[in-house]
């Protein structure tokens, strides 16, 4: 041994099991950051090569950074860096805190034999940095490999605009950001525990007072709950710092989940995906109903065509709506069964709408109207002397650019009802979906008579971008969830280890295995409940603000509702994380030989 610091790797070897979770936390933080920055780098390189191809000249990183895409990419990466830093610091400082608390006697002994406060603080900081030696390279390798996998998925599965993304690129930005993340997180996380260790009095080594007992100020309240539940809850509530860290990490991941989910909604509004999005649209030059059903039938027979559906329309039909302030005319539009089904798939029907009544020849219709002059389900619209019953309403106007109907009332009927009301058999619009090659598109075009227009929208579907975005958000959320579960498991496990001797004594005086499990469960459930309540409240509040800024301000018809399904996912996640966190430490204490703990001084 050359210096007292040579003790660090020796101690790390001995405490390998206890340090495993801390190592995992660092690896995760480094992995996440290097994967995110590597992906951002790859996206920039893809953009560079795309622009170079388009404009015939090379674009520097600076040039890309000047574009809105480049800026938003690195802004997102920067925000994620900050979030991961906070999550990483929360997790790792929890771990280091526990390891320091467990070794008070060791630190006291070090002080007894002459280590100064500064040396002790340095010891703890360097010990934490020592973990980086293994954790950072592993994190960077994992991050790089997963960025390769993601690139491959984007390139070969999602395709579309990602066919130019580089496959096996190593990103310097990714590597450097990983290293910075590892070191910065560990240094911030070790700062408080190092100060705590430096404060340990030499008397701690000789008296056996580990500090934890001295901090207890008030006795547990017993009576209302069984003793094991009272103790478990008290364990969670009495250690304030631990309570804040645990509740914080639960709450943070819930907040992240609920906030990121709003981004998914946002993309949904920006790049609306509809089951009735067409690859090819055929319509009349005059805008009238002039596409004959025979053409639609002929298109169906062409190779690669999957769905052909048409709409008929008559505008400004005189109508009586029975309410003052509503217009005296309506636009009648027919949807065939495929189109009606798409309304349900796209979730554009207002709550309470009964789509099933609209199919076939009948008097039921769907209506679109402005929110300030609303129609309701069950209202009657008189057209051509016939009463049409409103079976449902749409959330927004499908036919206008901004989702508003601007004072107009549109009525959607089935094919059959429309034919009966108007006698018009030709379509105003025929839409084609399918895996269409250029030959198939040409074959469709050849079928058209004069006066019919053909619009090829095959390359314009945004499904690829949408899926890529959704994939990224979900994988980020999955990783955050995994890190949270690991962190919670680690913290509960540490908390149980720290009280191992106490639990051993409890078992010796008659606590059975079930009671041990319940005591640990009560502690975990306390964290979960507190974190769940704070996380859901904070997440919903931030989510609503974000919804207003990102969506409501631009899509005025959008209405924020409490995301019940997402809250259910949160509840399920919290419950399973808690269960996972209880299981292993409870089993360890149940299986532990009582004699191992009570006989040591």
């Amino acid at each position: 041994m050359k210096s007292y610091l040579s003790l660090i790797p020796i101690s790390a070897k001995v405490r390998r099991r206890q340090n495993r979770m801390t190592l995992l936390c660092i690896i995760f933080a480094v992995f996440l950051v290097s994967a995110i920055f590597s992906m951002a780098d790859m996206a920039v390189r893809m953009e560079q090569s795309r622009l170079a191809k388009k404009h015939g000249q090379a674009f520097t990183l600076q040039a890309i950074m000047d574009t809105s895409m480049g800026q938003s990419l690195f802004l997102i990466a920067g925000a994620l860096f900050l979030l991961i830093l906070i999550a990483g610091v929360l997790m790792i400082s929890g771990s280091i805190n526990s390891t320091v608390a467990q070794r008070t006697k060791f630190f006291g002994m070090m002080r007894c034999i002459g280590m100064s406060r500064q040396q002790l603080a340095r010891f703890v900081r360097l010990e934490a940095l020592n973990w980086c030696k293994t954790a950072i390279p592993i994190g960077i390798i994992l991050g790089t490999v997963s960025s390769w996998t993601l690139c491959a998925i984007l390139r070969f599965v999602v395709q579309e605009e990602f066919t130019a993304i580089p496959l096996f690129g190593v990103s310097a930005i990714g590597v450097v950001s990983g290293i910075v993340m590892g070191i910065v997180t560990v240094l911030i996380a070790a700062w408080m525990p190092a100060r705590q260790a430096a404060k340990v009095s030499p008397i701690a080594a000789v008296s056996g007072n580990t500090g934890s007992t001295d901090r207890t100020q008030r006795a547990v309240r017993t009576g209302a709950l069984p003793i094991e539940l009272s103790l478990g809850t008290h364990h969670a509530v009495s250690a304030k710092k631990n309570l804040v860290l645990m509740t914080g990490s639960f709450a943070l991941s819930i907040i992240l989940f609920l906030t990121f989910s709003v981004l998914l909604d946002w993309v949904g509004y920006l790049l609306p995906q509809s089951a009735s999005d067409a690859d090819i649209t055929i319509y009349g030059e005059s805008g009238m109903n002039c596409v004959s059903p025979q053409i639609a039938k002929a298109i169906r027979a062409i190779d690669g065509v999957e769905n052909v559906f048409g709409r008929r329309s008559v505008f400004e039909v005189p109508a009586e709506l029975g309410q003052e302030g509503l217009p005296q005319t309506v636009d009648l539009i027919s949807f065939d069964d495929f189109d009606l089904n798409a309304l349900k798939k796209d979730d554009v029907l207002k709550k309470g709408s009964d789509l099933s009544k609209v199919y076939g020849d009948n008097s039921y219709v769907l209506a679109i109207c402005d929110p300030d002059a609303p129609l309701h389900k069950g209202d009657i619209i008189w057209v051509n002397g016939e009463a049409l019953n409103v079976a449902g309403l749409l959330k927004y106007d499908l036919f206008s650019g901004d989702g508003f109907s601007h004072g107009k009332v549109s009525v959607i009927t089935s094919d059959e009802t429309f034919l009966r009301l108007t006698g018009i058999g030709d379509y105003s619009l025929v839409m084609v979906q399918g895996d269409l090659t250029d030959e198939s598109a040409a074959a469709i075009s050849d079928l058209l008579d004069e006066g019919l227009l053909f619009r090829d929208q095959r390359g314009q579907r945004t499904f690829g971008t949408y899926i890529a975005f959704v994939l990224c958000v979900y994988s980020f959320l999955a990783i955050i969830a995994m890190v949270t579960v690991l962190n919670i498991m680690n913290s509960i496990s540490m908390s149980v280890s720290a009280r191992g001797k106490q639990y051993g004594a409890m078992r010796a005086v008659g606590m059975d295995g079930r009671q041990v499990t319940q005591m640990i469960a009560a502690e975990a459930v306390t964290y979960a409940l507190a974190g769940g309540v704070i996380g859901c409240t904070g997440g919903l509040a931030i989510g609503k603000i974000l919804f207003n800024i990102l969506i409501r301000d631009h899509f005025a018809y959008a209405v924020w509702t409490i995301p019940v399904f997402r809250l259910l996912i949160v509840v399920l996640f919290v419950a399973s994380a808690t269960f996972a966190a209880i299981h292993a430490p409870a089993k360890r204490i149940r299986d532990m030989a009582v004699t191992d703990t009570i006989n040591e001084l």
């Binding site: 007992t213 409890m506 078992r507 005086v509 008659g510 004699t595």
Partner: protein, 227 residues
């Protein structure tokens, strides 16, 4: 009938050449109400023997009967219940629960058993142990001697027939040691309990009804000392 019967207990750690025989064919019995001291060098097997009697550890072979019940024939759950109702433990390091007050620590085994403490008995114990004024204190607010008294109170609260004490005075000064020991004997007599106590202190051993010596895993009955 004897309260405790130990029959041919052997305990071996490890195997092959590295095998350590902590207890070698130990047999003895203790009648109800006897105060027994177990003496021996460090590492001789005293604590192992006490752990076997208290069913905290399992022997390699042999049987232990408490009140006629074969403890090692019981399932884990039944054994836990049996232990908390019939055996009181006192440890050298007290092992009190830091978050519980003196009174809560004492009634802890009853709470685990979902039983209400008998108030009269609890008050009597607190008085005998001299802890009436300290009943709401936390262990960290007590001296070592007081903490050990709380541990004795916890061991006696269920009125167990057998009290096992592993060097209960090992962490105490001589003044506190003799007080705790006197208390232990007084309560054992008062509540007709059998006490088996490990001690290093020959002076303490001499006050016991009987002394057992463990040396290299072999038990020798040294008989009564007081006469």
């Amino acid at each position: 009938m004897d309260l405790l019967q130990v029959e041919h207990i052997c305990k071996t750690y490890g195997g092959g050449e590295a095998a350590v025989h902590a207890l070698k064919d130990v047999s003895f019995s203790v009648p109800r109400g006897e105060f027994v001291a177990v003496v021996g060098e460090s590492g001789s097997g005293k604590s192992t023997l006490l752990n076997m009697i208290g069913a905290l550890d399992t022997p390699t072979s042999g049987r232990v009967y408490i009140g006629g019940e074969d403890t090692f024939a019981m399932k884990e759950k039944a054994l836990t219940v049996f232990r908390r109702r019939n055996i009181g433990f006192i440890f050298q390091a007290f092992h009190l629960i830091p978050e519980l007050s003196v009174e809560q620590n004492m009634i802890f085994p009853l709470l685990l058993d979902r039983q209400r403490p008998n108030t009269r008995y609890l008050e009597e114990l607190l008085a005998v142990l001299g802890l009436e004024k300290r009943r709401n204190h936390l262990p960290s607010q007590l001296s070592g001697g007081q903490q050990q008294r709380v541990a004795i109170g916890r061991a006696l609260i269920t009125r167990p027939s057998l009290v096992l004490a592993d060097e209960p005075t090992g962490n105490l000064d001589s003044q506190n040691s003799s007080e705790v020991l006197a208390l232990l004997k007084k309560t054992a007599r008062q509540y007709e309990q059998t006490v088996i106590m490990i001690t290093h202190n020959p002076g303490i051993a001499h006050t016991a009804d009987r002394v057992l010596q463990v040396s290299d895993g072999v038990l020798t009955d040294l008989g009564g000392c007081r006469e």
